[in-house]
């Protein structure tokens, strides 16, 4: 296994990160209205893709039921550790039962 691909991947991944930080500093004022809303868009997209995507398909499985239980825990203002453990426990349980 060669190191070349790993170096290119690491350098590329860092370039994206650094570009964002540099842009954030240079255009802070102009980007402010965008950056206020960007987390809402990105984290909600992450939630639905991590909960439902299986490669290029969308699936409804034990994982989604577990995440739904986690949402319920969030609405009850549970701390994050509880939210995560509820989601994992329900997912694992549904897998055992199903």
């Amino acid at each position: 296994m060669s190191w070349t691909a790993l170096v290119v991947l690491s350098a590329g991944a860092y370039a994206f990160k650094l570009a964002g930080v540099v842009a954030g500093e240079r255009f802070a004022d102009r980007l402010a209205p965008v950056t206020t809303l960007l987390p809402a868009a990105l984290f909600s997209a992450l939630v639905v893709t991590m909960a439902m995507a299986d490669g290029p398909s969308l699936v409804v499985d034990a994982r989604l039921i577990g995440v739904a239980a986690g949402v319920l825990a969030v609405t009850r203002r549970a701390p994050m550790v509880v939210v995560i453990m509820v989601a994992m426990a329900v997912t694992a349980l549904v897998r055992v039962v199903a």
């Binding site: 790993l6 809303l37 987390p39 577990g66 239980a69 995560i84």
Partner: protein, 224 residues
């Protein structure tokens, strides 16, 4: 102040433990794809982007072309560019410190920083979460490589539900305004539509477009 008395530190540590656990299957996969321990760990330290690393070792392990594997992994890493402008307002320090901070940009550190109301908490959440995740992610990688095929399927523990559930909690502070709720809803719909039709990584990038309608909502509220 004790190490984890503050809620954001407790949450950061919980996320780091989850990352450590998910580091195990990454290490297993890296090992079976033919990466050495040094290579698997180097990716965890220097690429430091979980979904990109999983994508890379999956393609390599499946006998795929390294250039295609790197390309796919970089598409997944591209969203970290969007996190820069989100966290830079709370970061401090000179060019070197910011260059180091860039390496610690991940979904988790950006979400933890942007979920805090207080800028001091946000800065602390970013660095604490970043350092905790780096430590446990690398530890998980090492353990995964050592364990190799002797590891149970992490799906059996429900670990795949841990991260979406955690990000639900981290999303909540961004749903306080109507503009935030509209942005989140459109972002989710765009991502779901994009999953079957675009390569992995693209759905999250496309979801960023939801900021447009969100800004329109915010502007209309102001003009009323």
């Amino acid at each position: 102040m004790s190490l984890i008395q503050r809620p954001h530190r407790r949450d950061g540590l919980v996320l780091a433990v989850a990352c450590g656990l998910i580091g195990l299957p990454y290490g297993v996969l890296a090992d079976s794809a033919g990466l050495t321990m040094a290579q698997a760990v180097a990716l965890s330290v220097f690429t430091f982007a979980g979904s990109s690393q999983f994508a890379y070792v999956s393609v390599i392990g499946g006998g795929g072309n390294p250039a295609a594997a790197v390309g796919g992994a970089l598409l997944l890493a591209a969203r970290n560019a969007l996190y820069g402008p989100v966290v830079t307002p709370v970061l401090r320090g000179g060019a070197f410190r910011r260059a180091v901070a860039a390496q610690f940009l991940t979904d988790e550190t950006a979400a933890m920083a942007s979920a805090q109301d207080d800028p001091t908490d946000a800065r602390d959440a970013f660095w604490f979460t970043g350092l905790a995740i780096m430590s446990l992610w690398v530890a998980g990688t090492v353990a995964g490589v050592l364990l190799g095929g002797n590891l149970d399927d992490p799906g059996a523990w429900g670990l795949d539900a841990a991260f979406p559930a955690a990000f639900v909690a981290l999303l909540v502070p961004h749903l306080a305004t109507r503009a935030g709720r509209v942005t989140a809803l459109i972002g989710a719909v765009v991502a779901l539509v994009a999953v079957p039709t675009t390569p992995a990584g693209a759905p999250i990038l496309l979801a960023a477009l939801a900021v447009g309608p969100g800004m329109a909502v915010a502007a209309r509220r102001r003009s009323l």
